[in-house]
């Protein structure tokens, strides 16, 4: 229950925050503030037909964009690893969250079988992506790039300034990797014949809270890394 409510609130809150920030970043700098007018405009913007995901072409557009983004950022065969990561992750997140929110028994049956299979794919692809992309987000590399990336960052209406986007990209990347590591570790731990019932409970909770962290970091990554 606590997990269900917390995860639901956090995911919705982060999504609203990211989309609201993205909405504000589209406005002239002097109008970027938290106000009733801006909020009304934001609601109108987010619920407008133009951005609606009820349109099939919107999904097509997103898919095309994602494929293009993958090709741009991953060279050669590694793009397939990225696609595998995305596909497996989408299923893992959707199935996991859906059952956590709506099915008291939790994940079971054929969705569980697919979840396990997708989990293996996710672990492998995440390891490869981590291996080839870790160097990009090393701290010293961030310092070298900050000057060129001051503009177009993550707008904070309270501080009335933009955060350098590369910092948020790094944050999303490292949290996503760390959460993925914990997800894999908790999965493996629960399958090994070394841990008793309280440890199993611990692994279960570690798995689901890591999953939530992973989803939140993925949301952030989509906003700051993928969507221009």
């Amino acid at each position: 229950m606590i997990f269900g409510i917390t995860s639901f609130v956090l995911i919705i809150a982060l999504s609203l925050r990211l989309t609201f920030g993205r909405f504000l970043s589209r406005l002239p700098e002097d109008q970027r503030k938290v106000s009733v007018e801006n909020f009304k405009a934001y609601v109108k913007w987010i619920t407008g037909w133009k951005l609606s995901f009820l349109k099939l072409e919107r999904w097509d557009h997103c898919l095309d964009y994602l494929i293009a983004w993958g090709r741009k950022n991953y060279l050669g065969w590694t793009v397939w690893v990225f696609y595998a990561l995305v596909l497996s992750y989408v299923y893992l997140a959707l199935s996991g969250m859906f059952f956590a929110w709506f099915v008291p028994r939790g994940l079971y049956g054929f969705p569980l079988l697919l979840h396990v299979a997708a989990g293996a794919l996710f672990a492998i692809s995440l390891t490869i992506v981590f291996f080839i992309k870790a160097r990009v987000y090393l701290p010293e590399k961030l310092r070298l790039k900050t000057e060129g990336q001051q503009k177009g960052g993550f707008w904070c209406p309270l501080l009335r300034k933009s955060f350098p986007r590369i910092y948020l990209e790094a944050l999303a990347f490292w949290v996503f990797v760390l959460a993925g590591f914990l997800l894999a570790a908790s999965t493996l731990g629960s399958m090994l014949p070394y841990f008793n019932y309280p440890a199993q409970i611990f692994f279960f909770h570690l798995h689901r809270w890591s999953a939530l962290t992973s989803v939140l970091s993925a949301c952030l990554a989509i906003d700051v890394m993928i969507v221009e």
Binding site: R105, G106, Y108, G109, F110, L113, V116, A120, A123, I124, L126, T127, F130, F131, A134, L138, P139, E140, V177, L178, G180, F181, A184, A185, T187, L188, S190, M191, L192, P193, Y194, F195, N196, Y197, P198, Q200, I201, F204
Partner: protein
Amino acid sequence: MRRQNTDRQEIRGLTLKSIWQAGLLLAGLAIFVFITFSVSRLLEARSQAGSMQEIKLRAEEKKEWSGSQLSPLHRIPLNDEFNQKIVPAAPEALPFSTRYSCEPCHSYSTISQGTHFNYRNRPAVDRRTEPWFLVDDRAGVQLPVSFQKHPGFWSPEQLGLSDWKFVTLFARNLSGGGPGEPAEDGHTPDSRWNVSGRLEINCLGCHHRSPLQDHSEWVKQVMRENFRWAATAASGLGEVVGMASRLPSTWSIADGPNPDDREWAVVPQVRYNRNFFDSRNNAVLELPRPEDDRCLACHSVVPRQAKSRAGVDRDVHLLAGLKCVDCHRNDLSHEMVRGFEGERLTRSSLNSYDFTCAGCHLGQKPEKGGKGFAGKLGAPRPAHRGIPKVHFERLACTVCHSGLLPEKETQAVYTSRANRLGIFGKAIWTLEYPLIMEPVFVREADKKLYPERMMWPAFWAELRDGEPVPVDSQEILAAAPEVFNLKENVASLLNALIPLAEEGFYPAVIISEYLFEPDVDGGLKARVLEKSPLAGKSARSKFLLVQLKNGEVRPLLPGFDPDDPPPGIEDKILNVLQNLKPLARGRQPVFLVGKYVYGINDGYLDKAERSGEQAPGPEICFQEGEEFQPFLSDFQLRNLEALGPGPEVLTEEQVTLVLKKMAETNPGRKFAYVASGFVFSLDKNGKLTAGEHRAARAVTWPLAHNVRPAQQALGKNGCTDCHSPNSKIFFGKIEASSPLQTSHRDSRLQADLMKTGPLFQFLFGFTFLVRPAFKLVLAACLLVMGLLLLAVIIRLTGRVSGISGDSSDPESRS
């Protein structure tokens, strides 16, 4: 003034003296009426001794428990059902009454509400227990009977079983009380309570620590309808002779013994063993908490495949030194803790959760923040390493830990109550029916899996608006005795041939590859012959009469030259033909040899020449007119061959014949036979058809014992104990067993009862074949990611601490 008053009183005829006298008179009258009324009530109570009405005796208002852990030696007067102290030396002493002997210290009415006595009014929240079984193995009936209202269980009321009938059927495993002590208005015309007495709660049956306490004696006495004597006889305090079942229904205890009949209708009498009484005629009894043997008399289960007691493992808790009553406790309410999760006790002061598996082994769920400690009664705390938590949410502990280990097929078991185990005597008491299987894994209403026992009801029924309503098997047996008595008839025929057998041998018959021989109960037992002379299709409809001795098989019918018969042979033939005469149903038994026919004429052996072709060998036949009919009819051969040595007692042909017979004798009514998960009835063409109905479905009830050692729990060898494509847990076959030999049998997989779906379980089990590889992959991924993360952390730490960094940085040098 005073004078005036006195005058008035005199005028009215009233004086103070007369008022005083009248008052005294009235008071005396009231005392007289009160005493008379009280005495008459006491006398009435005595005359109605044993009724359900609570009688306040000289009960001492005592605390239920003194605080001592000791069980006191009981030096107590034993009272009879008239609440009179028993004097063991008295020539016509009555049996003791637990109601009047135990009541002064222990409230009988409270105890009578206990689990073992109060069948009718158990709480509705109660979990299913093993039902009673109405069994008639001749008619192929095995019907679950229970006071519990669960689908598939028939209540005694539905079957028309009065308390009397119920008790006479099942008293062997009743502890008395409940239906054994019906109220006055509960007496039915078929009952003989006034003769048998009431079946009071047999306190000593559980509590009496004495080598003389004998469950078999209890059974013997209740089968003789010696209800009021049964507890005394079973306790060993006295011997009981006589049978109430042979007494006329007009007899009552007040009539006393019948001096005119000391052979047949002997009135039950007690001869007390005076060694168990002190000089003041108080009985000296040791009555501690019940020993395991007392419980196991009614609550033991053994696999049928076990050849001896040595081959059966005991419950691990007993091996650890616990007793049944250590977990299955009760206070004075005698509401037993059954020990399953979710049990709600309504009268007991005990907390049922403390005595569940988790209650002892885990304590008050410390994982969930509960208080308390594990290890009650020394229970080890299980680690359950590597078992995902879903198992603890969706499975009862007993799934992995209790009952027989699952095999490819469910295994047949005997249970004490159903199959009459634990009754010893000359007769063999164990019944083959009902056929009970275990383990089956059933998902119950709480969504958890439980290991259970299962049986398929079998009964003859009348179809009323399509609903099968059980019919008394006696009615069916009476309608078509020749059909049901197949084995008995053949056994009688074979026994009639005994004069022809050599010394020490006895007759038998070979049909197909089976050898049939008469058993001690007048039936036939069959076994498969390794090498049968009649094996194969060409030998169909043939039989061979043989004689047996210690496994040696010889031909029974002697071959001899009828023109020169050996001495004594004709006497043997005469004896056999005389034996067969009453079994021939109007036909003439004859012995054919060569061209001669031996028959009986006016009690003498008659040898006549036979017309037509002569018999190839000696043969026993039945002659009807000019026709010679074989010793065993085609019907007998066909059905015996079909039944063989299997547990079934009926064939589809027999069922068809019985249903036709019932339809003929009861026009307008439709009958059916329910067995093996189907309802068998005749279609318009008179052919037997099998249909489905919920009344034919199998009934199950959870099992809890025997608990296996942890090393033998499912999952001990890993996940593949259960999760594999050929798992016995999920893909074990459950096939209906029933008294009917038929191809229509309810058949399913364990996964069907679990409601998990066999396809999913197959695929899920399949994943466990690749799971080691999956674990390796995950471990490799974790290793790589871990090393990378470690490298980053080391690098970051080095930079923060200044240990590592850009050597050209002038700040780092300074």
